[in-house]
């Protein structure tokens, strides 16, 4: 009585594993589909998400070619042409590395624009708050110079309100050298610019309508109002202009440019980034695992013989699955956005 399925145990095992992998990726891809449909017209386009069809298409092509090479490797193993098999496996490895490199280029572009889950402002108000936060971080790092080198001493170095006058006193004290005096001047100017923005943001008052953070300026603007009017609110455009001016400054512009991203609110941006990194990240991990499988076959070197036939076939099946996942990821992430 014939029992079982007429294929090798390892092959059946790999297929069962691939069945679970299908379910694994279906969870993420299915969720992305559902979430994308719910976003509807509000879903960010490729300009907001910095998705480029070119790189995605190139990666698709790379994986398809690698799938083809894997199939040739398996055919070579079946025909006992082991040198050919090594060649095709080696080329597949190279293409896998190329895939990860292209992925790395894409990820770097995302990091450069702070397109990360939880980092993306979704409304202009959130974008203003983010600029405020990042600028504060730049200032704190700038002012840490004075406490780190113990040029000033305060009980609470985190309390900027007491720290800044101390720095001013230090600069005027005569104990500071010329470099430190100039640096202190820049630091205080930077701090004041941030304080101005921060006060306007907390009060939600326009930077142009109330030109400074002094109470007198605020009262003057309020007194100029007619009955029933309100002061105009802070807008993202004003903040962007203000920030660009700061970035253009000779002395502290570089620090501000390095520490503060250009404000760019993207509705559903965080949801997108979450889905994107989850799907492509897990896919990249699977590519790495595939590289390990091929690597072990290549490591056998001249010992690659008929004993490795099943290994190569199963690695090939796994690699084709990785290609399949990308075949679905590419249109969903790059074209359907």
């Amino acid at each position: 009585m014939k029992m079982g399925i007429p294929i090798a145990d390892a092959k059946l095992g790999m297929w069962l594993f691939l069945g679970t992998e299908i379910m694994f990726f279906t969870a993420f891809i299915g969720t992305y589909i559902v979430v994308r449909i719910s976003g509807g017209a509000g879903w960010p386009g490729p300009h907001d998400t910095h998705i480029d069809v070119f790189w995605g298409g190139l990666n698709t092509f790379v994986l398809i070619v690698s799938s083809f090479f894997v199939v040739l490797a398996h055919a070579a193993m079946g025909d006992k042409r082991y040198a050919d098999a090594r060649k095709w496996l080696g080329l597949t490895m190279l293409l896998a590395v190329l895939f990860l490199c292209i992925k790395g280029i894409e990820y770097r572009g995302k990091f450069a624009h702070d397109i990360l889950p939880g980092h993306i402002p979704e409304t202009p108000a959130q974008a203003i708050a983010k600029v405020d936060r990042e600028l504060e971080a730049v200032i704190r790092e700038d002012l840490a110079y004075y406490t780190y080198y113990e040029l000033v001493s305060v009980d609470q170095p985190n309390d900027l309100a007491t720290l800044v006058p101390q720095i001013q006193a230090f600069a005027q004290s005569g104990k500071a050298d010329a470099g430190d005096v100039a640096k202190a001047g820049d630091s205080i100017e930077l701090y004041k610019k941030w304080q101005n923005l921060h006060q306007h943001k907390v009060a939600n008052v326009s930077l142009t309508a109330v030109p400074s953070a002094e109470v007198s300026a605020y009262r003057e603007a309020r007194n100029a109002l007619n009955e029933g009017e309100k002061l105009p609110e802070l807008t993202l455009g004003e903040v962007t202009t203000y920030l660009n001016d700061m970035k253009a400054d000779q002395s502290y512009g570089a620090a501000v440019t390095a520490g503060v991203f250009d404000p760019h609110p993207v509705l559903y941006g965080n949801l997108f980034a979450s889905c994107y990194f989850l799907m492509t990240g897990f896919h990249a991990i699977h590519v790495l695992v595939g590289m390990i499988l091929f690597g072990m076959a290549l490591y056998a070197g001249a010992n690659l013989n008929e004993n490795w036939l099943n290994w190569v076939e199963n690695s090939g099946l796994y690699w084709h699955f990785v290609d399949l996942v990308w075949i679905f990821l590419f249109p969903l992430l790059y074209i359907a956005s």
Binding site: F61, T235, L267, E313, A336
Partner: protein, 159 residues
């Protein structure tokens, strides 16, 4: 033990490879064509993706020549793959009620004005200035207060 000999089924792998390349180019073409209804693009591109998947599965993975066990394996996963999104669609996907996400509530007005002004002029900063309990020295997180910070509150601050 070596598996079944598939030598009798000669597959022209190169032809399958060219077919895959052609399908990929086709999906990029559909994207570039940009139909007025984006749903058409998505349907066409997903159809191409399914065709590519079948090429890889049937020929590269040799499923065309395997036995009926392939259905036992793939049927449950396919059912789940289709069933999961369908199950979530009414609650998460098709928003036939107004969602209460704060950013979406204000999104219409804010973003419309923001986009109209080409992102560098108007755009209101209204609504979710949520640092009312801000402690500057700690660098607080931006949380959704959900309340409108009205200008009336400024009068109290100034006195």
């Amino acid at each position: 033990m070596s598996d079944d000999d598939h030598g009798s089924h000669h597959v022209n792998y190169l032809a399958v490879f060219f077919a895959l390349c052609g399908f990929t180019a086709l999906s990029v073409v559909f994207d570039v064509m940009s139909f007025e209804n984006h749903a058409i693009t998505i349907v066409l591109v997903m159809a191409v993706a399914v065709a590519k998947a079948l090429c890889v599965m049937m020929f590269f993975m040799h499923l065309k020549f395997e036995g009926n066990w392939k259905f036992i394996l793939l049927a449950p996963t396919t059912i789940l793959a289709i069933g999961l999104p369908l199950a979530l669609m009414p609650d998460v996907g098709v928003a036939y009620y107004t969602p209460t996400a704060p950013q979406k509530g204000e999104w219409g007005t804010e973003m419309a004005e923001y986009r109209a002004a080409h992102a560098h002029e108007d755009g209101h900063g209204a609504g979710y200035d949520a640092d009312s309990d801000h402690a500057a020295e700690e660098g607080a997180h931006d949380e959704h207060a959900g309340d409108d910070q009205s200008s009336e509150g400024h009068d109290d601050a100034a006195h």
